[in-house]
C-alpha cells in the first residue's frame, strides 16, 4: 500500500537561506512517525513545507496526489491537520470558539457535534473553561486545546510541532498519552516534531533524525532507542 505521505528530495528556502537541502520521508497510514534533531535542523520547516506554508522544490505526495503547490487551506480540506510551532491558537477567541474553528472544513453538522463532545471527553477541563479566552489558559492547556482542535477536524494526518515545548514533564506525558491512545484506538496517523527525543521515541513507531536540512538517520524507534551512537551524537541523552 502506498504511504499516506511521501516527501522525495524536498528543498525549501527562506529568501537566500536554504532551510531544507534534501529531505525524503514517508509516513504510512496508521503510523506515528517522529522527526527529531537539533534546533535549526529543519524539523519545523519540513512541516511547513508539507502544509504549503513555504514554497518548495521536490515532490510532496499526500494521499496519492502531488500537493507541492497546494495552499494550506486546500490541504486542510484534504484532511491534513497541522498544530504549528507556538500552537496557533486564537488568543482572543474563547476555548469553545477555538474548537469550533477546528471543524471549519467540515460540512456534517451532526458529526461535528459528536466530535466536539469527544474532545471534551478527552480533555474534561474544557467543559468549565469553554467561555474563557484561549489566552488565559496555561501552556499545557493551550497545547491540549490545540491538539483537541486539530482532532475536531477528523484529520487523516495529524502534524504536531514540538508539543512538549515549554511544558512541565507531566503535562508533556499527558499530551503524548492522548496521541498514543488515538493512534491505538482509532488508527490516527501522526507526524510529530520533537526536541525531547526520549519521549517521542517511546510513542512513535519510526523516526527520522534531521541534521542541517537533511535526513541523517532513520529507523524504527525501538532501534534508535537502543542504538548507543545515535543517542549520543544526535539525540543527546
Amino acid at each position: 500500500m502506498a504511504p499516506l505521505l511521501e516527501l522525495r528530495g524536498v528543498q525549501a528556502r527562506y529568501g537566500p537561506i536554504v532551510a531544507l537541502h534534501d529531505v525524503s520521508i514517508t509516513v504510512g497510514e496508521g503510523e506515528v512517525v517522529a522527526l527529531l534533531g537539533a534546533n535549526g535542523a529543519g524539523k519545523t520547516t519540513t512541516l511547513r513545507a508539507i502544509s504549503g506554508l513555504v514554497s518548495t522544490t521536490g515532490e510532496v505526495v499526500y494521499a496519492g496526489s502531488q500537493v507541492r503547490r497546494a495552499t494550506p487551506e486546500r490541504l486542510a480540506r484534504l484532511g491534513l491537520a497541522h498544530v504549528p510551532e507556538g500552537r496557533g491558537l486564537f488568543p482572543e477567541l474563547t476555548v469553545w470558539e477555538n474548537l469550533r474553528m477546528g471543524a471549519y472544513v467540515r460540512r456534517d453538522r451532526r458529526g461535528v457535534k459528536t466530535d466536539l463532545d469527544r474532545a471534551v471527553e478527552h480533555f474534561p477541563w474544557i467543559r468549565e473553561r469553554r467561555h474563557q479566552h484561549a489566552a488565559t489558559l496555561s501552556g499545557g492547556e493551550q497545547q491540549m486545546l490545540a491538539v483537541a482542535r486539530a482532532l475536531v477536524a477528523r484529520p487523516r494526518l495529524l502534524m504536531l510541532d514540538e508539543p512538549s515545548l515549554g511544558l512541565a514533564p507531566l503535562v508533556t506525558q499527558e499530551v503524548f498519552r492522548v496521541v498514543h491512545e488515538l493512534n491505538e484506538q482509532e488508527g490516527l496517523t501522526v507526524l510529530v516534531v520533537e526536541q525531547n527525543a526520549q519521549i517521542a521515541l517511546t510513542v512513535s513507531h519510526r523516526a527520522y533524525v534531521l541534521e542541517v536540512g537533511r535526513v541523517a538517520v532513520e529507523g524504527s524507534s525501538a532501534e534508535l532507542r537502543e542504538h548507543e551512537g545515535v543517542r549520543r551524537s544526535y539525540l543527546g541523552y
Binding site: L53, P84, L89, F90, E92, E97, Y104, A153
Partner: protein
Amino acid sequence: MLPLAFTWSDFFQQVVFGLAIGAVYASLALAIVLIYRTTHVVNFAQGEMATFTTYIAWTLTANHGWSFWPAFFATIVIAFGLGAATERVIIRPFERGDPLTLILVTIALFVIFNGLIQWIWGPEQKVFLGAFTPKPFDIGGVAISRQDVGVIVVTLITVTVLWLFFRFTKLGLAMRAAAIAPVASRLMGVRVGWMYAAGWGFAASLGAVSGMMVAPVVSLSPSMLQSVLVYAFAAAVLGGIESPVGAVVGGLLLGLATTLLGAYVSFIGVDLELPVAFSVLILVLLFRPAGLLGRQVLRRV
C-alpha cells in the same frame, strides 16, 4: 447667537435628534472599525463609498420607481459586492504595504469614488425620500420626530444583526479568526483573502445604511458624508479603533454631545461643533492614547 429659553420638551427633542445623528456616526464608525480589524487599514474612503451606494438607492427609488425598503435591502447587497470587490482588486495588491501607503491608497479611493459620483449623477443636490415621514410622535406633550426614531431603530437593528452574525455563525467566527491569526486560520482551511473581502463588504453595507439614513435629513450630495466621516473617525478612535462596542458608544456619545453643546452653549454654535468635538478627542487621546475602551498596545523595541 442666543440660546433658546430652556424647556424640557425642547431638550428631549434635542436628545433624540442627537442620538439619531449619533446612530449615523456609529454605523460609519463601526464600518471603519470592521475594516481596521480585518485588514488593519484606516479607510478614508468609507464615507465616499457609502455616498456612492446611497446614490444607487436613489436611482432605484427615483428613477426605477422602487419603494424605499426593497431599494434599501438591494443597496445593502450591492454595497457588499462593491466593498468586497474593492478589497480584492485595489487593496489586495498593497496587502504587504506600509500602513502609511495604505492610508494613501484609501485616499486615492476617496478621490475616485467622489469623482465617480459627480461623473455619474452630477454635482448637484438631490432629494432623497426616506422611509419615515417627518411627522412627529406626540409623547406626553413632547413632539418626537419619527424620522429620528426611525434612524435610531434601524441602526440598532443593523448593529444587532451584525453582532449576532459575528457571534454565532461559522463565517462570522472565521472572519474573526482570520483577523486575529491569518496563518493559523489558513491551517484550519479558512480562505483568509475572502474573509478580508467579506470584512470590506460588510463595512460597505454598514456605510450604505448610514448613508441611506442620513440622506433624507441632509439631502443627497457628493460631499454628504465628508463631515460625518470625520465624526465617525473620532467615534472610532474614542472607542479605541478596534472595539465595535466602543465605536457604537463613541458615535452615540459624540452625536449627543455635539448636538447638545451646539444647542445650549451659545459660544459654540454650529460652526464650532466640529472643533470642540475634536479638541475633546485630542484630550481623550492624551490621557488614553488607545482610546476609551482600547487596550494599551506595547510598542516594539
